[in-house]
C-alpha cells in the first residue's frame, strides 16, 4: 500500500522538479509539430514474398530543408521532378528499413514510388512519400520475421508499424493489423497516449491462413497491480458520475472493511497495543479507549495531510509520512521506556514481598473454594499491581495516537480523489469509516486478548505452579514494557531509513 503513496509522492515531486526546469525552445501549434519526420511501415507477408508500404511524412520545416524539388526553376514541380525525388527517397527507405527472415536480410526492390505535397500551415507544403517495396521470402515454413526501421532514425516524429498475413498466419505478434493514423493521414489526439514510437517488431510466421497481430496496445505499468485493482474498485466507486445514496453507503461500508483489514497488517504499533493491554492488565474500557483514540488520530491525521497536500502541490507526502512514522515510533518507544522503568521498580518491590504474594495467591484458591467470583480473586492476586497500572491510561492514549498517526495511503488517496471530484465531505466520511474499521479491528483484538487472559486466570493453579505463575506474572509487565520499547525503536528506525 505504501507503494501507491510513493507513486503519488513521486508524481508530485516530479511535476515540481519538471516544471522547475523551465522553458527552452518554442512550442509549435501543429498536430505533430512542424519539424517532425513521420514514418509508417505496413508489412504484408505472403508465403513467397514480403510486401512493404513505407510512408514518410515530412512536415513543413523538413520539407524546406530538403534540396529544392523545382530543379529546373520554372516555378512548378513537374511529375518528372516529383518522381525523381520519390525514387531517390524510396531507394534510401529500402536501404534503411531492414527485414530479416530467420536472421537473413531481404533484398528489396522498389515497385512504386510516389511523392505528393499536401498543403501545411502558413501556405507552406509538407511532403508525403509512399514507397511500395517487395522482396522474395520463403515463408511457407514457420519462420521469425524481424523488421527494423532505421531510416532517418535521429529525426523526431511518429513511428508506426503494422503487419498482416496473406496466406500465412502471424502468431505472438504485438504489432497491430491496422494503422491508427490511417497511414499518417490523421494522427490520433488521445491525450492519454504518447506519440507512437515503434521502430522494430518481431513476428512469428506459421503456415495457414488467418491474419496476425493485435489491436493497438497501450503500455500499462505492471507496478502494484494487485493494489491497483483494489484501488481501482474503490476509486471508481468514489469517482462515479451518478453517485447514488446506495453507492455512497456501499463505499462507506467498503471503507470500514478496508480500514479493518489495514489494521490487521503488522506494523503501526498495533502489536504493541495488544501486548500492552495484556501485560498491563487492561480492561474492556481500555480496549475501547485505544480504538477511539486510533480512529480520532487517524482521521485527523489523514484530513490534515490531505488538506496540506491539496493546498500545496509542492509537498511530497513521502517525507511527511516518514516523519510521522518516526514520531509514532518515538512516541511508542518513549511510552515503552516509561513502562519499563515503572515495571522494573514494581518488580523489585515485588521480589521483596514475595511471601505475602504467595499468601495472597493461596488465598485466591481458597476464595474460589468458597464460591467467590473470579474477578474479585484476580483483584486480590494483583492488588499491588493495580496501584501502578492505573497511570497507564495516559500511556494507552499515547499508544492509540501512535497507532493512528501514520495515515493509511488508501485513505489519503480516496480523500484526495474525493477532493479532486469536488466531493470533499464524502471523502471525509470515507476516511472516518476507514478509521472506524481500523479501530474495530484493534478493539476486537484487544477484547480477544482480554478474554483469553481472563480464561487463563479462571483456571485453577496448583500451589507450585501458582508460585511460578506469580513470578511469571510479575515478570510479564517488564517483558511487555521491553517489547513496547523495542518495537517503538524499530518503528522509529524504519521511519528514518524510509526517508
Amino acid at each position: 500500500m505504501i507503494r501507491w503513496i510513493r507513486r503519488l509522492g513521486a508524481l508530485l515531486a516530479l511535476c515540481t522538479a519538471a516544471l522547475a526546469l523551465g522553458p527552452a525552445g518554442s512550442a509549435a501549434a501543429h498536430p505533430l509539430g512542424n519539424f517532425t519526420v513521420n514514418h509508417y511501415d505496413g508489412l504484408r507477408l505472403h508465403a513467397d514474398r514480403v510486401e512493404l508500404l513505407a510512408v514518410v511524412d515530412h512536415a513543413e520545416i523538413p520539407t524546406l530543408q530538403q534540396p529544392r524539388l523545382d530543379t529546373d526553376s520554372d516555378g512548378a514541380i513537374s511529375a518528372g521532378e516529383a518522381g525523381r525525388r520519390a525514387g531517390m527517397e524510396c531507394a534510401e527507405v529500402a536501404a534503411g528499413v531492414v527485414v530479416t527472415v530467420d536472421g537473413s536480410p531481404l533484398a528489396w526492390s522498389v515497385q512504386g514510388a510516389e511523392l505528393t505535397l499536401p498543403p501545411g500551415e502558413a501556405g507552406l507544403a509538407t511532403t508525403r512519400v509512399e514507397c511500395r517495396l517487395t522482396a522474395p521470402a520463403a515463408l511457407a515454413e514457420p519462420a521469425t520475421v524481424v523488421i527494423t526501421d532505421g531510416y532517418l532514425a535521429d529525426r523526431i516524429g511518429w513511428r508506426e508499424i503494422t503487419a498482416v498475413g496473406d496466406g500465412v498466419r502471424l502468431t505472438g505478434s504485438e504489432i497491430p493489423v491496422a494503422s491508427v493514423s490511417q497511414e499518417l493521414r490523421s494522427y490520433p489526439g488521445d491525450l492519454l497516449t504518447d506519440p507512437l514510437d515503434v521502430r522494430t517488431a518481431t513476428l512469428q510466421v506459421q503456415p495457414g491462413t488467418g491474419g496476425g497481430g493485435s489491436g493497438p496496445t497501450a503500455a500499462v505499468s505492471t507496478v502494484g497491480r494487485w493494489f491497483g485493482q483494489l484501488d481501482a474498485w474503490f476509486t471508481r466507486l468514489v469517482g462515479q458520475d451518478d453517485l447514488t445514496a446506495e453507492v455512497g453507503v456501499l463505499a462507506v461500508l467498503l471503507a470500514v472493511v478496508l480500514g479493518a483489514s489495514h489494521a490487521m497488517l503488522p506494523g503501526h504499533g498495533k502489536t504493541v497495543i495488544a501486548a500492552y493491554l495484556t501485560g498491563r492488565r487492561g480492561t474492556r474500557r481500555d480496549a475501547l479507549l485505544v480504538g477511539a483514540t486510533v480512529t480520532a488520530t487517524h482521521t485527523a491525521s489523514v484530513l490534515g495531510l490531505g488538506l496540506v497536500i491539496s493546498v500545496s502541490a509542492t509537498l511530497a507526502p513521502e517525507g511527511v509520512l516518514s516523519g510521522l512514522g518516526v514520531l509514532s515510533g518515538l512516541l511508542v518507544a518513549g511510552i515503552g521506556a516509561k513502562l519499563l522503568a515503572s515495571a522494573c521498580r514494581a518488580w523489585r518491590a515485588g521480589s521483596t514481598v514475595e511471601s505475602p504474594r504467595i499468601l495472597v495467591a493461596v488465598g485466591h484458591g481458597r476464595d474460589h473454594e468458597h464460591g467467590h467470583g473470579h474477578g474479585h480473586g484476580h483483584g486480590h492476586g494483583h492488588g499491588h499491581w493495580h496501584g501502578h497500572a492505573r497511570f497507564g491510561r495516559g500511556a494507552l492514549v499515547g499508544l492509540g495516537v501512535a497507532g493512528g498517526l501514520v495515515p493509511s495511503p488508501t485513505a489519503l488517496l480516496v480523500l484526495l480523489g474525493a477532493i479532486g471530484l469536488g466531493r470533499t465531505w464524502f471523502g471525509v466520511g470515507l476516511v472516518l469509516g476507514y478509521g472506524l474499521g481500523m479501530a474495530a479491528t484493534l478493539t476486537a483484538a484487544g477484547l480477544l486478548l482480554l478474554g483469553l487472559r481472563d480464561r487463563l486466570d479462571r483456571v485453577q493453579l496448583s500451589d507450585r505452579l501458582r508460585r511460578r505463575a506469580a513470578r511469571l506474572a510479575a515478570a510479564t509487565p517488564v517483558l511487555t514494557a521491553l517489547l513496547v520499547f523495542v518495537v517503538g525503536l524499530g518503528l522509529a528506525v524504519r521511519g528514518l531509513t524510509g526517508l
Binding site: 516544471l19 527552452a24 525552445g25 501549434a29 519539424f35 502558413a122 491525450l191 485453577q460 523495542v486
Partner: protein
C-alpha cells in the same frame, strides 16, 4: 483439592506459554515485516542513484490512473505539466499539444481554484514564449497558494523574460526558501549570471548538480554549467560539462548544440558544420539555424548560409501564422542578414510588448543596422545595465560606439577588447568582425 487443581492446571501451563509464545511471534512478525518493508523500500526509492526515465514512468502512471479515474482534475494537471517537460526533454513538440489538451481537461473539470492547472498552463505559455500570459497564470496560482514552488518558478521565468527583474529575484528567493533544490538553484544561478555575479552563479549550479537525482536533471545542470563556462571563454571546461551532460542524456538537443559550438571554437570547422547540420535537421530551432548559417558564412560557404537564413525566415513566418512570434531572433536575423528597416520594425514591436534586457539588445542592434547608432547607444547600455558579462552585448556596444565618431573610439576599443577577453569564440562570424574593427580603430587612432 490438589488433584482437581492439578488436573485444572494442566492446560494452564501450556496456556501461559502459548501467551508468551504468541507475544514472541508477534514481535518476530513485526520485526520481519519491518525488515521486509525496508528491503522493499531500498529498490524503488533509493534516492542517490539517478533515475533514468522517471518522467516517462510518471507519465505512464498518470495516464494509467486517468484511464481508471477520468474525472481527476489534479492528475490531469500533473500529466499536462509532465507533457510540457517531455516536450522539452524529447524535443518532440507533439507533447505540447498533448499538454494543452490535458491542462484544458483539468480546467474543465475544476474551473475555479485549480492552481495545478494554472501552473501547467503557465509553464506551457513560457515554452511558447508567451511570457505575459505565463505571468498571469503564475499569479493566478500564487493567489491560491503563495508557497507554491512551481508557480514561483513559472513567475521567475516569465518575469526575467519580461524585464521585471525585481519580481524575478523575489520569486527565486522564495523558491530558495521553500525548497533549495535543482529548480531553485538553477534559477538563482541564472539571476546571478544576469547580474554579473558569475562565481556565485557557478556555486549555485554546483549545488543544483549536487541536488540532481534524475538523468534529465543532471543533464540540465551540466548544460548550464557548460553555458556558464562558455560565456566566460572557458571552452575546455564547457566541453567537459556538455560531454558529461550527454553521457547522462545522449540525445539532448541543447547539449548537442553545446558540443557543436565547442567544435567550432576549437577550429574543427568541418566537424562543427556536420554537428550543426544534424542538430538543425533534428531540432531546427531559430537560434540553432542562425548560428549554423553564421558558421557556414564564416567558413566561406555563403550560398549554404543563405539557404539557412531563408529557412529561418520561412520558419518565422510559420510561427507568426501560428501566433507564437519570436521577434527577437527575427529582428537579429533581419539586422545582420536582411532588411534593417524590417529589423527595426520587429524589434520595436518586441520592445513595445516587453522592456527586457533581451528586447533592448535586439532593438539596439536593429537601430545600429539601420544606421541609427545614437538612438541605439542608450538601449545597448540598458541591455548591460544589470552588470552581466556577455561578450555579445559588449561586442554590439563596441560596434555602436565605433560609429559614433572619434570621440568615442577609445570606448569602442575598450568594449570590443572586453568582448574578446570575455569570450573570444562568442560567434564565428562576429568575433572576426570584432577583430577587424579593432585593427581599423587602432590604425585610425
Amino acid at each position: 483439592m490438589a488433584s482437581t487443581a492439578h488436573l485444572d492446571t494442566a492446560p494452564s501451563r501450556p496456556g501461559r506459554l502459548l501467551l508468551v509464545a504468541a507475544l514472541a511471534v508477534l514481535l518476530l512478525v513485526s520485526v520481519i515485516a519491518a525488515g521486509l518493508d525496508d528491503s522493499n523500500r531500498e529498490t524503488p526509492a533509493g534516492t542517490p542513484q539517478p533515475v533514468p526515465d522517471r518522467l516517462a514512468a510518471t507519465i505512464a502512471q498518470a495516464q494509467e490512473r486517468l484511464r481508471r479515474v477520468p474525472g481527476d482534475a489534479g492528475t490531469w494537471a500533473a500529466l499536462g505539466s509532465a507533457y510540457v517537460v517531455q516536450a522539452r526533454v524529447s524535443g518532440n513538440p507533439a507533447y505540447y499539444a498533448q499538454a494543452q489538451g490535458a491542462l484544458d481537461r483539468s480546467t474543465q473539470l475544476q474551473p475555479t481554484g485549480n492552481a495545478a492547472a494554472a501552473v501547467g498552463l503557465g509553464a506551457l505559455a513560457n515554452a511558447r514564449h508567451d511570457f505575459a500570459v505565463a505571468r498571469g497564470y503564475a499569479e493566478q496560482a500564487l493567489a491560491g497558494n503563495p508557497a507554491s514552488m512551481e508557480a514561483n518558478g513559472v513567475l521567475a521565468d516569465a518575469a526575467t523574460q519580461l524585464g521585471d527583474t525585481t519580481t524575478a529575484t523575489a520569486a527565486v528567493q522564495r523558491m530558495l526558501e521553500l525548497r533549495p533544490g535543482v529548480a531553485a538553484f538553477t534559477r538563482a544561478s541564472y539571476e546571478l549570471e544576469l547580474h554579473g555575479r558569475v562565481d556565485e552563479a557557478r556555486v549555485a549550479l554546483e549545488r543544483a548538480l549536487g541536488a540532481a537525482t534524475s538523468r534529465d536533471e543532471l543533464a540540465f545542470c551540466q548544460y548550464y554549467l557548460g553555458e556558464l563556462a562558455w560565456g566566460g571563454g572557458g571552452v575546455e571546461q564547457a566541453r567537459a560539462h556538455y560531454e558529461r551532460g550527454l553521457a547522462a542524456a545522449p540525445g539532448d538537443p541543447a547539449l548537442l548544440h553545446g558540443r557543436a559550438k565547442v567544435l567550432a571554437a576549437a577550429g574543427r570547422v568541418d566537424e562543427a558544420i556536420t554537428a550543426y547540420d544534424r542538430l538543425t535537421q533534428r531540432v531546427p530551432l531559430p537560434q540553432y539555424l542562425l548560428e549554423y548559417g553564421e558558421l557556414l558564412e564564416s567558413a566561406g560557404r555563403l550560398p549554404d548560409a543563405l539557404s539557412q537564413y531563408r529557412l529561418l525566415g520561412e520558419q518565422q513566418r510559420l510561427h507568426a501564422a501560428q501566433g507564437s512570434a519570436d521577434d527577437v531572433t527575427a529582428a537579429l536575423l533581419a539586422a545582420d542578414h536582411g532588411d534593417p528597416a524590417e529589423a527595426v520594425r520587429l524589434a520595436e514591436a518586441e520592445w513595445s510588448r516587453r522592456q527586457s534586457i533581451f528586447s533592448a539588445e535586439a532593438l539596439a542592434w536593429a537601430l545600429h543596422a539601420a544606421g541609427r547608432d545614437a538612438e541605439a547607444l542608450p538601449l545597448i547600455e540598458q541591455a548591460g545595465a544589470l552588470g552581466r558579462r556577455d561578450a555579445t552585448v559588449d561586442y554590439r556596444r563596441g560596434m555602436i560606439l565605433a560609429r559614433l565618431g572619434p570621440a568615442r573610439t577609445g570606448e569602442a576599443i575598450a568594449a570590443l577588447d572586453e568582448a574578446l577577453a570575455t569570450n573570444p569564440h562568442f560567434s564565428p562570424l562576429h568575433a572576426s568582425i570584432a577583430r577587424r574593427t579593432l585593427e581599423t580603430l587602432r590604425g585610425a587612432g
